[in-house]
C-alpha cells in the first residue's frame, strides 16, 4: 500500500504540475492548436448580455448554441459579426474586433421591442412637463396660470393640483420656475398685477408647503440655488456676493458671503469660489471652513476671467465648475475638459461616470480610479465624445445604470447604447411635443413625455420589469456581501 500510495502521489503531482500552468494559460486565453502555424494562440473573448436575457447568438451569420448572457471563448483575434436575435425584439448586430487576451464586453444590451407600447396616463392636454431629478414626482403645465399646474407622482400614477384651493396665486402666471436636482422645492417667478412675486412651493399630496417670499427679495437675483437637503435656505447671488434667505423664519441675511465668483452645494455644505480663486467649503451656517484650493497660480490659471462658475460637487472628491459659456473644469486632471458648449450634466455615482451634453453631441468622462502601469505622466480621465448628429440636445439621462443614454434632440427622444468598441447603437424612441421636456425614472425604467400629436401625458417602458427586479436583487446582494466583508476586516 505504501508503494502504491507513493506511486499515485507522484502521478498526481505530475498531473498537477502539468495541468495547473496549462489551465492558467487557458484562463488567460492561450490555447494550444498543434495544426496551426503558431501552435500557441492568444485568443480573445466576447461577452454578451442582454436585457431581457435569452437572445440567440449568431457568429458571422452562423448560429451558436448559446444564449445571452454568455461568452464566446477561444476566438482567434479577428473581426466578428455578431447578431442577437430574440422573438418580439429587433435583431441587434454589431461588428466586434477581438483582441488577443482581451475580453470584448457587451454588457446589458437593451433589446428594442418590435412594438413599443406607449401608455396614456392622463387624458388632458399639457403644454410642458417640468422634470425634477431625485424626487418621486414631476410637474405638468396646462397653461401659464399657476392654477393649471399639476403635480404627477409617477410611482403611483396619481396627479394633484400644485396649489390647494382658495389660494390667491392661482391666477398669476408663471414666468419661470427654478428647481434644483434632488430637491422637492421649487421657486416660482410669478407675474401679478403688482409686479413680480416669488413663491416657494414644496408639493405634497396632502399639505403642500407654500410660501410667498417676495418680501425677502430686495433685488432680482442673478442666480438662485439651495442645498437639496436644506431647501428652505435659499442662496441668491448678485454682484459678487451671496444673500441667504431663511424661508421658515422669513429672514434675509444680506451679503452672507462676499467676494464670490461661484458657488454650489453638497451634503449641507456650501462650496464657494472666491474672487481670489480660492475654493472653500463650509457648513451652511459658515462654520467649519475648509480650504480646498488656495494655490493662486492654479486658481488663476483655471478660473481667471471666466465669469461666474456654477459649482457642482457630484461626490465629495469630484467637483465640477461650469461657466455660463459652458466651459467645464473639474478638480481632476486634466482639469479643463471643454472650453465651451456644455449644456448639462448627469453623474452616475456607482461607476463614477459623468454624462455631458452639448447641442450636437454627448460626452462621457470616466472618473473611476485606475492605476495604469508604465505611464510616467498621469493623464487623468478622458472626455469621450459621441457624435450623435443631433441638432439641439436639451436633455440627457443615464439609462439602465450607465449602459445606455437617453437624450432629447428637440422633439425626438433617442436611445444610445454605449459600446466599448465600434459605433454606438442609436435608436429613435418617440416624438414628443415641441418645446416640452422628458422625464425618465431609472427605478422603473419608464420614460414620461407629452405626445407630439395629442400633448397628452404618456409613458413608455424602456427597460422591462424583470431585468429591473433582477438588477435590484443583484445590487442588494453585492451590498450585503461588501458590508459583511467590511465587518470581517
Amino acid at each position: 500500500m505504501l508503494v502504491l500510495r507513493k506511486l499515485i502521489f507522484y502521478i498526481f503531482l505530475i498531473i498537477y504540475l502539468i495541468a495547473c500552468p496549462l489551465i492558467v494559460l487557458y484562463a488567460f486565453g492561450f490555447i494550444f492548436k498543434p495544426d496551426a502555424q503558431e501552435p500557441i494562440i492568444k485568443t480573445g473573448l466576447i461577452y454578451l448580455s442582454t436585457v431581457p436575457p435569452g437572445a440567440s447568438i449568431y457568429l458571422n451569420g452562423e448560429p451558436t448554441k448559446l444564449k445571452t448572457p454568455s461568452s464566446l471563448q477561444e476566438l482567434d483575434p479577428a473581426d466578428y459579426a455578431i447578431k442577437l436575435s430574440m422573438d418580439n425584439y429587433l435583431d441587434w448586430s454589431h461588428d466586434i474586433a477581438v483582441a488577443p487576451n482581451k475580453a470584448s464586453v457587451f454588457d446589458k444590451i437593451l433589446l428594442i421591442p418590435k412594438k413599443r407600447e406607449p401608455k396614456i396616463l392622463l387624458n388632458e392636454k399639457f403644454e410642458n412637463l417640468i422634470p425634477l431629478t431625485g424626487v418621486d414626482f414631476f410637474v405638468l403645465r396646462k397653461s401659464p396660470a399657476l392654477k393649471d399646474w399639476v403635480i404627477y407622482y409617477w410611482k403611483d400614477d396619481k396627479q394633484y393640483p400644485l396649489l390647494g384651493e382658495g389660494l390667491d396665486y392661482g391666477n398669476m402666471t408663471v414666468s419661470a420656475v427654478h428647481t434644483i436636482d434632488k430637491s422637492p422645492g421649487m421657486l416660482f417667478y410669478l407675474n401679478s398685477g403688482t409686479g413680480r412675486r416669488y413663491l416657494y412651493v414644496e408639493p405634497d399630496r396632502d399639505k403642500p408647503f407654500i410660501k410667498d417670499i417676495t418680501e425677502l427679495f430686495t433685488t432680482a437675483p442673478e442666480k438662485i440655488a439651495w442645498d437639496p437637503s436644506q431647501p428652505r435656505q435659499i442662496f441668491t447671488f448678485q454682484k459678487g456676493y451671496l444673500n441667504m434667505i431663511d424661508i421658515i423664519n422669513e429672514a434675509v441675511y444680506p451679503r452672507y458671503i462676499t467676494d464670490v465668483t461661484g458657488f454650489g452645494f453638497l451634503d449641507k455644505k456650501i462650496y464657494v469660489l472666491g474672487n481670489d480663486y480660492a475654493l472653500t467649503r463650509t457648513n451652511l451656517d459658515k462654520g467649519s471652513a475648509e480650504v480646498l484650493l488656495d494655490d493662486k497660480h492654479i486658481g488663476e490659471a483655471l478660473f481667471a476671467g471666466k465669469g461666474f462658475f456654477k459649482i457642482l460637487p457630484v461626490v465629495e472628491d469630484i467637483i465640477l465648475f461650469i461657466t455660463e459659456k459652458g466651459e467645464l473644469i473639474t478638480n481632476h486632471l486634466p482639469y479643463r475638459f471643454t472650453d465651451d458648449g456644455v449644456e448639462g450634466s448627469s453623474f452616475y455615482e456607482k461607476n463614477r461616470r459623468l454624462l455631458l451634453w452639448e447641442k450636437k453631441r454627448v460626452g462621457i468622462v470616466d472618473f473611476l480610479t485606475e492605476v495604469i502601469e508604465g505611464i510616467t505622466f498621469e493623464k487623468g480621465p478622458e472626455l469621450l465624445w459621441v457624435d450623435v448628429k443631433a441638432g439641439n440636445i436639451e436633455q440627457a439621462f443615464w439609462v439602465y445604470e450607465d449602459s445606455h443614454i437617453l437624450f432629447r434632440d428637440k422633439a425626438q427622444a433617442w436611445l444610445i447604447e454605449m459600446e466599448e468598441t465600434g459605433r454606438p447603437h442609436l435608436d429613435a424612441l418617440i416624438k414628443v411635443r415641441a418645446n416640452s421636456s422628458l422625464f425618465y425614472a431609472e427605478n422603473t425604467g419608464t420614460l414620461y413625455y407629452l405626445d407630439s400629436a395629442s400633448s397628452k401625458l404618456y409613458s413608455l417602458d424602456i427597460i422591462g420589469q424583470k431585468p429591473l427586479q433582477e438588477k435590484e436583487a443583484r445590487d442588494k446582494k453585492k451590498e450585503k456581501m461588501k458590508d459583511r466583508l467590511e465587518q470581517e476586516q
Binding site: 502504491l4 500510495r5 489551465i23 484562463a27 488567460f28 471563448q73 475580453a103 470616466d366 485606475e370 476586516q489
Partner: protein, 546 residues
C-alpha cells in the same frame, strides 16, 4: 529521549518556544484567510490565479483521497469474515503455519484471495525478523473505559460488546475509570454494571479517580492514567508481563465489533517490534446514527472516512480516539499526559519522542462504534457538535510540545522530523482554511474586480473553470455518498430505504457544515491557543433516544 511532555513547568527558552509554537498555527490560519481577502482586494487578478491553482490542487487531492478511501474501505470489507483467532493461533507455530499457508489452496474470491495474500506477506515478514512473538495463550487484553457523567445505558453496551467476540473474555481485564466527581446515578449505574459483568471477565475493576491530584488538569487522561496505574499494580501482583498485555483505552460510549480483540491480538502478534506500535481501528459512529440530526451524522461519517484514508498511510498515521497499544510501552512512557485534553494523539507523540522516532501506528481493519453527538433539541445538538469539534481541533496543543521535542531530538532523522512537522501543520491549517477558501474567498476577486480586470479574459473564464472543477469534485462527493451508505449499519430501522436516501442528500450540506461545524470550531481552538486561553475539558454529552 527524556522529554517533559507538557506545557507546564517550562522555563526560559523552552517557555518562549512553547508560546511561539502555540501562536504559530492560529497566526498562520488567520494570516492565510485575511491575507487572501486582502490579496483579492489589492490584486484581484493574481488572487484569482492563485485560487484557480488552489482549486485544482484541492480537486486532485480529493480524487487522491477518494482512491485511498475506496481502497481502505475495500480492505475493511475484505477482512469482515476473517477468522483472526485462527490466524493468531497460527503464529504460535510460525514456520509450520507459513508452510501450511503456502500449500493451502488459494481462495477463489478476490477479497478472500487478497486477504490471504496480505496475511501471508505479514507472516513471512514476521518470520524474516527472527523475532518470536508471545504465545497467544499468554496474551491479555486490558480495556479501560473512561467514565465521567455517562449513564449506565451508555456504558453497558460497550462492556457487553467485549463478551460477543471470539477473544476469550476470561483473558480480558476491564477497568472502569470513574471520576470521583461523577453524579451519584452514574456511580450507581457503574456499580450495577460491575455486579452484572464482573464475573465474566478475568478481572473487573472500578477505579475511582480522586479530584485535585497535584499536577493534574481536569482531563480524561488524568482519569485513565490513574486507572492504568492501578491496572499495572494488578498485573504485577499476578505476575503478568506487561509485554503480554495489550491496553485499549475506550470512551464511555465505545462499542467494539465482535472481531475487535481477535483482530487486535493477531496484529499485535504479527507486528514485529510490537512494543513500539499503537494499533488504530476504524472509528464509526453507529450507536445512535439514525437518531442524530443529519448534519451531525454527515460530520461523523466524514471523521470515519478521514481515518480510513489515514489508515492507508501508516508512515504518517497518528492515533485518534479509541485505540490500543502495548501496555509495556504505556508504562515505559509514563502513561497519558495528565494535563492535556487531546490524549488520543498526545500519547502517540509522547511515545514517538520517547522512543526517538522508533514508534509507529499500525492500522487494523476492524471497527469500533461510538455515539454521534446529540442533545434534547436540534439547536443544543449544534452547540454540542461545535464544542466537540473544537475539542478535537484542540489537538493543535500537541504542536508546540512536538516541535520543541523535534528541535532537541537529534536521534530522529531530520528529514523525518520535517516531514512529520509539515504533516502536523498541514492537517491543522487545512482544517481551518480550506472550507473558507473554497466557499467564500474564491468569489472575492470577482467582487473586488476593477473595471480593468473586467476587460480581461480571465474575469470570464475563471468562473467557468472553477465551475468545472467543482462539477468534477461532485464525482468525489458521489464516491463519499456511496461509501457512507455502504458503511452504515445494517440494522433494521423503520423506513430504511427512505432514511438512506435522505442520508445521501445530507451530503449536499457539506459546504455550510464544513464552515460552521468544522472550520470555525478549529479556528476557535487555534485562536484560543494563540491567546493562551487554554480550554477546560468539556465532556461530550452522550444520550440515546429510544
Amino acid at each position: 529521549m527524556k522529554f517533559h511532555f507538557s506545557r507546564h513547568k517550562l522555563r526560559g527558552r523552552e517557555r518562549i518556544l512553547e508560546r511561539f509554537f502555540e501562536i504559530l498555527p492560529g497566526l498562520l490560519s488567520w494570516s492565510i484567510l485575511i491575507g487572501m481577502v486582502l490579496f483579492s482586494f489589492k490584486r484581484p487578478l493574481a488572487a484569482a490565479v492563485a485560487i484557480i491553482a488552489f482549486d485544482l490542487y484541492w480537486l486532485l487531492r480529493l480524487f487522491y483521497m477518494n482512491i485511498f478511501l475506496s481502497l481502505s474501505y475495500y480492505r475493511l470489507s475484505m477482512e469482515k469474515k476473517t477468522d483472526w483467532m485462527s490466524r493468531a493461533r497460527g503464529i504460535d507455530r510460525l514456520d509450520s503455519y507459513y508452510k501450511d499457508l503456502e500449500g493451502k489452496e488459494k481462495p477463489k474470491k478476490i477479497k478472500s484471495w487478497l486477504s490471504y495474500l496480505i496475511h501471508k506477506t505479514e507472516i513471512n515478514h514476521l518470520r524474516n525478523t527472527k523475532e518470536r512473538p508471545p504465545l497467544l495463550k499468554d496474551i491479555y487484553q486490558l480495556a479501560i473505559f473512561a467514565v465521567a457523567t455517562e449513564s449506565r445505558e451508555i456504558v453497558e453496551p460497550g462492556v457487553e460488546s467485549m463478551l460477543n467476540g471470539s477473544f476469550p473474555p476470561e483473558r480480558i481485564v476491564v477497568v472502569i475509570a470513574l471520576e470521583a466527581s461523577a453524579p451519584d446515578n452514574v456511580k450507581s449505574g457503574i456499580k450495577q454494571i460491575e455486579k452484572k459483568f464482573s464475573k465474566k471477565f478475568k478481572h473487573f475493576m472500578v477505579v475511582l479517580h480522586p479530584k485535585g491530584i497535584h499536577g493534574e488538569a481536569r482531563v480524561k487522561a488524568a482519569n485513565t492514567t490513574f486507572a492504568a496505574r492501578c491496572a499495572e499494580a494488578y498485573f504485577r501482583k499476578i505476575n503478568i508481563l506487561h509485554e503480554n498485555v495489550i491496553c485499549s483505552c475506550f470512551d464511555a460510549d465505545t462499542v467494539i465489533s465482535p472481531d475487535y480483540f481477535s483482530c487486535l491480538t493477531y496484529h499485535y502478534l504479527a507486528t514485529p517490534d510490537r512494543i513500539h506500535a499503537s494499533f488504530q481501528p476504524i472509528p464509526v459512529f453507529h450507536n445512535n446514527i439514525w437518531q442524530a440530526p443529519g448534519f451531525a451524522r454527515v460530520l461523523d461519517v466524514g471523521s470515519s472516512f478521514f481515518q480510513l484514508i489515514e489508515a492507508t498511510n501508516p508512515e504518517k498515521l497518528v492515533t485518534f480516539s479509541s485505540h490500543s497499544m502495548s501496555f509495556k510501552a504505556l508504562v515505559d512512557i509514563d502513561y497519558w499526559p495528565v494535563d492535556m485534553i487531546s490524549d488520543d494523539s498526545a500519547i502517540f507523540w509522547k511515545a514517538y519522542i520517547h522512543y526517538d522516532g522508533k514508534y509507529r501506528v499500525v492500522p487494523i481493519y476492524t471497527t469500533l462504534s461510538m455515539d454521534v453527538t446529540q442533545a434534547e433539541t436540534w439547536w443544543r445538538t449544534v452547540i454540542n457538535v461545535y464544542k466537540q469539534k473544537r475539542r478535537w481541533a484542540w489537538g493543535a496543543e500537541n504542536i508546540p510540545i512536538v516541535m520543541r521535542a523535534f528541535l532537541r531530538a537529534k536521534n530522529i532523522p531530520v528529514f523525518k522530523r520535517i516531514k512529520l512537522a509539515i504533516k502536523l501543520f498541514d492537517a491543522h491549517l487545512s482544517w481551518t482554511t480550506w472550507p473558507f477558501l473554497l466557499s467564500i474567498v474564491s468569489w472575492l476577486p470577482l467582487i473586488f474586480a476593477t473595471r480593468q480586470y473586467e476587460q480581461s479574459i480571465f474575469y470570464y473564464s475563471a468562473p467557468r473553470i472553477a465551475g468545472t472543477i467543482f462539477t468534477l469534485a461532485s464525482f468525489g462527493l458521489i464516491v463519499c455518498i456511496i461509501l457512507s451508505l455502504l458503511l452504515l449499519p445494517k440494522r433494521r430501522v423503520r423506513h430504511n430505504i427512505l432514511r438512506r436516501i435522505g442520508h445521501a442528500f445530507e451530503w449536499l450540506l457539506i459546504p455550510p457544515i464544513s464552515i460552521f461545524l468544522s472550520a470555525i470550531p478549529a479556528l476557535d481552538a487555534q485562536t484560543r491557543l494563540m491567546f493562551g486561553r487554554y480550554m477546560e475539558f468539556w465532556v461530550t454529552i452522550k444520550r440515546r433516544k429510544d
